[in-house]
């Protein structure tokens, strides 16, 4: 068990370093940092001085190490576009994205898993067919379009919900929250549904497919032949066995919610990290891009690590010692 955890941890570190390397390469080699920082009047000598003082003439690995060291402390330099420290921007924007993502993730799971189970167990009902058709539609509409349609219906035609911004937020010092105000909560509705829908349909289809697969196995047939209660077969046997692969993929999906937030935040002008990133890409604001990459990379690696551990915990075949068979 320990070796497994250690192994996965080591792998995570390697991935982080790779991500960091890519971010650094972007940071350093895409465009010229100096040109982006100073005005046109600066002379060549002044630029050279600046270059030297920022350590841009040092060897590659030194610069990389400095970058990585800074990154670990949350220090990413100055944004070219906003002319403020990137870390400040991140701290400012992070709560918005995280709150939105969390609500969306909860929605996707809370609705997706039960819907998947239901449509697997009641394959031919009317409700199942409706849900399946709906899910097909859900997978075929891009997230931004869902947002636009929701805005049209609830923001333009029926003016019931706000369609941009976070509403009023409460400042808790290091965190700003929209949960504590009515307008904050109302503002969360449309963006979170938009963000959740795609993931919800994916999770639902996945759970359904896995359960159908499990329901066809020999051990389920044997359980039926032993007269086990149907409810137990469906839940204790089939559902539990479907969860193993579902957990892995669901974990990855939930991680991607944070990436899809980019789209939702743009449609709804939600002041989160995603919007920041898009602006950075359009303005070629490299420090922000690099920082976003590192932060997101960290989030993904972390989620992957947790999912791997969960996998290990849930499936006894991975844990127990294989050697103890004894006898024929």
């Amino acid at each position: 068990m320990v070796s497994f955890v250690v192994g996965r941890f080591a792998q995570s570190i390697i991935v982080m370093l790779t991500v960091g390397l890519i971010a650094f390469a972007m940071f350093r080699f895409v465009g010229d940092p100096i040109n982006n920082m100073v005005g046109q009047d600066t002379t060549v000598e002044q630029r050279e001085e600046l270059r030297e003082s920022l350590g841009l003439n040092d060897p590659f690995y030194v610069q990389y190490f400095r970058f990585a060291w800074n990154a670990v402390q949350g220090e990413f330099g100055q944004s070219y576009f906003h002319r403020r420290p990137v870390s400040e921007l991140l701290v400012e924007r992070l709560p918005a994205t995280l709150e939105l993502s969390m609500i969306a993730a909860v929605l996707a799971l809370a609705l997706g898993v039960p819907a998947g189970v239901y449509t697997a167990l009641n394959r031919n009902g009317i409700i199942s067919n409706l849900i399946m058709s709906g899910s097909l539609l859900g997978v075929s509409i891009p997230t931004f379009l869902i947002g636009i349609i929701l805005i049209l219906i609830f923001g333009v035609v029926w003016r019931v919900l706000p369609t941009f911004g976070r509403g009023d937020v409460v400042d808790l010092g290091w965190w700003t929250t929209g949960f504590l105000t009515a307008s904050g909560l109302k503002s969360l509705v449309l963006p979170s549904i938009t963000l959740a829908l795609f993931q919800l349909t994916l999770i639902m289809r996945l759970v359904r497919a896995e359960m159908l697969e499990v329901l066809r196995t020999d051990f389920i047939k044997f359980a039926r032949a032993r007269g086990i209660l149907t409810r137990s077969i469906h839940f204790s046997h089939a559902l539990k066995n479907s969860l193993v692969p579902v957990i892995t993929i669901t974990g990855l999906q939930l991680g991607s919610i944070i990436a899809f937030a980019i789209i939702t935040e743009t449609v709804f002008q939600w002041p989160g990290m995603g919007l920041l990133f898009i602006q950075a890409v359009l303005e070629v604001d490299i420090p922000v891009m690099a920082a976003y990459l590192v932060v997101i990379g960290f989030v993904f690696v972390f989620i992957n690590f947790v999912v791997d551990i969960l996998y290990f915990v849930v499936d006894p075949r991975l844990r127990a010692d294989r050697a103890g068979s004894g006898g024929h």
Partner: protein
């Protein structure tokens, strides 16, 4: 009053091409303490009967006629809840594959206790006690500890014992076992069968054993029903049916079973099955392309010689050498095969016999030892190209007819591939005519050349494999369990074909099997393998009459006793 009565059962499967009737007019009865065997080849419908009794027919199958009675009460038309209560409590079922029958994520305890508590008025503590007692009865050592383990911590045979315990734990009156020992090793099969017979007598349950294996039938059944194409062709006490069958199908089926006690010249052909191959065109072998083995250098001495062959696999790779795990599949194996001889290699699964074959054929590179073939040392060859001329002289036939042919190639191309690779024909026309001749010669007919593998049955596919193997005019043929996946009647045909070809072309053969009676029919000399080592090498008759090594004796003991089987219509070979 019989315990279980099946009356005039008919099961239909609607398919896109019409309705397929899996079984019809089936009437059977089982009494307490009695074991009824249901024997037949694949597709005969035996499993369908078992599924119908317990109400678990694969959709869209359904029972369209007849009735099933348990102690004179009809059970096939009951509502779902009523049937569910019968399953496990009054009728228990055992399936074939122990590796997939158990829920991998639940402990044995959980699975046992849940079944008991579902049907019997006990609480969990009492149920656990009963479960432990049951595990002990079926022969699981340290049941109190092992009950808390997961299925993957048990070996195949142990798992089947757990499955039996699960089928019995709610004290049913009837047990249906669908091929209960087919997936197990020979040595374990006997133990499981004994266990089942004991339990049946002890608890006075009525047992139906569904199998294709005549040995199982002869071993433990009291009565037997013979199935063919969905109908019961004959039924009665085992001794009578096996020893003196009335129906022609049963007669020919029994005559096709390889006997452990005698050696036959040829297997008699089984009536009622697919046309026993087309009459094979007589070839003037001496002048035919096939017979032109003269081009091979004549040689003195054994055609094949193995010297201290060793094969080590890495089962777990790791960065540090001390963490790696190895498996020595073959250890210090040495033997010789003379020209024109049929040498058998027998052993249980995991004994290394297939690995030896693959080392000879060049599929694995031996980790130690030498292979001498046709005058050259194969293990000393450095380049692939040098091996080519030996490859021409040595070909192989595999076990699984469903995976040994490329599903996307036409038969013509499959058989022509070796000819083209080794440039054995001068042009396309010649290649084509050689292939057509080969197909005729193995009994498939030339028209088969344009078809695809999926259009043929298992036995026919093996013939295609044989044709492909003969295409290079080899002098040495390795047969790796060539009939293990075939029905008894088809096996008889293929073995006949192999025998005929061997005589006609003077082939040297290495014949691998786990089935001793088959070895007795086919081989001149035999090597017995166990755990990678060669225990004994002897002439076939010597081995069977007078085995030297303990393990050989053990294997021979495990052979099914087929004395009850009729000897009608068999041509025994005189032992030289």
């Amino acid at each position: 009053m019989a315990l279980l009565d099946i009356k005039n059962l008919r099961v239909d499967f609607p398919t896109r091409r019409g309705v397929f009737t899996a079984v019809e007019h089936v009437t059977l009865a089982v009494n307490p303490g009695e074991i009824l065997g249901c024997v037949g080849e694949s597709g005969a419908g035996k499993s369908t009967i078992g599924n119908a009794v317990i109400g678990l027919l694969e959709p869209p199958g359904r029972m369209s006629e007849g009735e099933i009675d348990l102690k004179d009460k009809r059970i096939d038309n009951l509502p779902y809840e009523a049937i569910r209560k019968i399953r496990g409590r009054r009728i228990g079922m055992i399936f074939q594959d122990p590796l997939t029958s158990l829920n991998p994520l639940q402990t044995i305890e959980r699975q046992l206790v849940e079944t008991i508590v579902t049907h019997l008025p006990m609480n969990e503590t009492e149920a656990r006690k009963k479960a432990v007692g049951l595990l002990e009865r079926v022969g699981i050592p340290e049941p109190d500890i092992r009950i808390g383990q997961y299925p993957h911590q048990f070996s195949g045979g142990m798992r089947q014992r757990v499955v039996i315990a699960l089928a019995l734990c709610a004290d049913p009156e009837v047990i249906i076992a669908d091929e209960p020992t087919t997936a197990l090793d020979v040595s374990i099969q006997a133990q499981i069968l004994d266990l089942m017979r004991e339990l049946c007598r002890e608890r006075q349950v009525g047992m139906i054993i569904i199998t294709h294996d005549m040995g199982v039938i002869a071993d433990i059944t009291d009565r037997v029903a013979v199935m063919y194409h969905g109908k019961v062709v004959e039924e009665g006490p085992t001794k009578k049916i096996l020893g003196n069958p009335d129906h022609p199908y049963t007669q020919s089926l029994i005559s096709a079973v390889p006997r452990p006690d005698i050696r036959l010249k040829r297997f008699p052909l089984v009536e009622y099955i697919e046309s026993a191959g087309k009459a094979r065109k007589e070839l003037d072998i001496a002048n035919h392309w096939l017979g032109k083995v003269r081009e091979f250098e004549a040689m003195e001495g054994p055609l094949l010689r193995l010297q201290d062959l060793h094969m080590r696999f890495v089962t777990r790779n790791a960065i540090l050498p001390r963490d790696r795990r190895y498996l020595d599949a073959v250890k210090d194996v040495s033997f010789e095969i003379q020209q024109g001889e049929v040498f058998g290699l027998v052993g249980e699964s995991g004994s290394g016999k297939s690995t030896v074959a693959r080392m000879i054929a060049g599929l694995y590179k031996p980790t130690g030892g030498k292979v001498f073939f046709a005058g050259g040392e194969l293990t000393a060859l450095k380049k692939e190209r040098e091996r080519d001329r030996y490859r021409r002289q040595m070909q192989m036939i595999f076990q699984d007819p469903y995976s040994s042919l490329n599903p996307r190639m036409r038969v013509l191309d499959i058989v022509a591939e070796p000819i083209r690779f080794h440039n054995l024909a001068s042009d396309r026309k010649e290649t084509e005519s050689i292939v057509l001749d080969l197909l005729e010669h193995v009994g498939l007919g030339a028209a088969a050349a344009v078809k695809y593998p999926h259009e043929f049955s298992g036995g026919q596919r093996q013939r295609i494999s044989i044709a492909r193997a003969l295409a290079t005019r080899p002098r040495f043929l390795i047969c790796d369990e060539p009939t293990s996946a075939l029905d008894v009647s088809i096996q008889a045909q293929i073995l006949n074909l192999l025998k005929d070809l061997q005589e006609e072309l003077g082939l040297t053969m290495l014949f691998i099997s786990h089935d001793l009676p088959v070895i007795r029919q086919m081989c001149d000399r035999v090597g017995v393998m166990r755990n990678g080592k060669l225990c004994e090498v002897a002439a076939t008759e010597d081995l069977f009459e007078n085995p030297q090594h303990d393990y050989s004796k053990h294997l021979l003991d495990l052979m099914p006793k087929l004395d009850v089987l009729s000897h009608e219509g068999l041509e025994v070979e005189e032992t030289n």
